[in-house]
């Protein structure tokens, strides 16, 4: 699996702290929803810094894909991507990586994401919507405030439950609070669960999902470390 030279074709401010980078490659990445890529930065003297970022889009006819990256204070790679990278720049990527936290759009799933953990789940939701399989997917997204919600103009829909832990939009009925059992929507029997977020979120969400009846062995977890 070799390094590929991607070109930045679009940069969108996703939230105050996150940007979505649309990249294009000479050949399609050929990834599965949920996979990630490695981004490598190389200084003129050969020094490199690499980080993993989840792909936010499913594979399609284009050779393009999107990464949504949160800017971490002091993060060597995320700060560079946010502060320096511009449309037209080249970026080395490698992937797709990971054969576990993937969904191919053919079985019922319950997706639970906390904060930036929504990124690989968004690839799955987008795949479901594109292929007319929305009925297979239920997604629960937990964020602190409305301003922290990624894909805010797209993510809402019949598949989606939004949970705000600190502050809600003005019209929102549910008061702010942590994800609880009441937030888990009805899901299809036999569904697998995909949980992505910080370690603390993943632990709490795992307990809720087990409580909701998903067997432990049908739960796949991706925990985000502080990868700067």
């Amino acid at each position: 699996m070799s390094w590929k030279q991607a070109t930045v074709v679009d940069i969108k401010q996703e939230t105050a702290r996150a940007k979505t980078f649309r990249l294009t490659l000479p050949e399609a990445l050929g990834h599965r929803a949920g996979q990630h890529v490695i981004v490598r930065l190389t200084a003129p003297d050969g020094y490199t810094a690499s980080r993993s970022y989840s792909i936010a889009t499913p594979a399609d006819e284009s050779k393009e894909f999107e990464l949504t990256v949160e800017r971490l204070e002091g993060g060597e790679v995320s700060a560079f991507l946010h502060d320096e990278l511009t449309v037209g720049d080249e970026l080395e990527v490698r992937g797709p990586i990971g054969g576990w936290f993937v969904w191919d759009g053919d079985s019922p799933v319950l997706l639970v994401g906390g904060g930036s953990g929504v990124v690989p789940l968004m690839a799955m939701l987008r795949l479901a919507r594109r292929t007319g399989k929305s009925e297979l997917v239920r997604v629960v997204v937990s964020v602190r405030t409305p301003g922290d919600l990624f894909y805010a103009d797209e993510i809402a829909g019949p598949e989606t439950t939004l949970v705000y832990t600190r502050a809600t939009p003005s019209s929102f009925v549910r008061p702010p609070g942590r994800l609880s059992a009441d937030d888990i929507p009805p899901f299809a029997a036999g569904a697998s669960a995909y949980i992505c977020g910080s370690s603390g979120f993943a632990e709490a969400a795992s307990e809720l999902i087990i409580g909701a009846g998903v067997p432990t062995e049908q739960i796949r977890v991706e925990r985000f470390g502080p990868t700067g």
């Binding site: 060597e76 054969g99 576990w100 370690s199 432990t216 470390g225 990868t227």
Partner: protein, 203 residues
């Protein structure tokens, strides 16, 4: 040789710690948790560790029995494939040599498959878990190993990327062939030497 990235100079590299393998950064006091499964809550009252497969005496130890073996510790560095390293850490437990010697490894053995109390597995050449290179540990910096880090006990193979150090380890199956484990079936390198950057298949 990679092409350089416009505008990137890198930071902190003048002070780069020589203990860091290529492509790794020092995570400092934090210890990221990257587990692909639900964290199990294992009770040490019923916990076991087993050596099986190509051994003369397949052996199962209870929590108390494994603690009665000669203690062994590791002080040094650990390296995760997701590019963080944690420097100067200390774990206490028992050497895998002690466990394998008790079971009596047969001459035809070449590899082990470590298996966990979850469905997790990871494969290792026998040479990577013998001669003082691997431990089963239950103590981190003088305190019980937390469940999120693989407690009550995990495998520790610190000279390889940390996915080889199976959390919630339940035993080693001694084999006369290589048998890819969980991540090795999912795109990761078979051996995982951080100094050779053996991260993914084909590295």
């Amino acid at each position: 040789m990679s092409r350089f990235t416009r505008g990137f100079s890198g930071r902190g590299r003048a002070n780069r710690d020589p203990r860091l393998p290529p492509g790794q950064y020092d995570t400092g006091n934090s210890w990221p948790v990257l587990t692909a499964e639900v964290t199990p809550r294992l009770d040490t009252a019923t916990w076991t560790f087993r050596i099986e497969g190509l051994v003369d005496r397949p052996t199962t130890w209870t929590w108390d029995e494994i603690h009665a073996l000669p203690p062994s510790s590791y002080s040094g560095d650990i390296h995760c494939v997701t590019t963080w390293s944690k420097l100067g850490v200390t774990f206490n437990g028992v050497s895998v040599d002690t466990l394998l010697d008790a079971a009596g490894v047969q001459p035809s053995a070449t590899h082990v498959l470590a298996f966990s109390h979850t469905a997790y597995t990871t494969n290792l050449p026998l040479a990577d878990v013998t001669n003082g290179k691997a431990w089963v540990v239950w103590d981190y910096e003088g305190r019980p190993l937390e469940a999120q880090h693989g407690g009550p006990a995990r495998l520790l193979v610190p000279h390889l990327y940390f996915w080889k150090s199976a959390k919630f380890v339940a035993g080693l199956r001694v084999l006369d062939h290589d048998e890819p484990g969980f991540w090795e079936q999912n795109g990761y390198h078979d051996r995982g030497d951080p100094w050779l950057e053996q991260r993914y298949q084909g590295d």
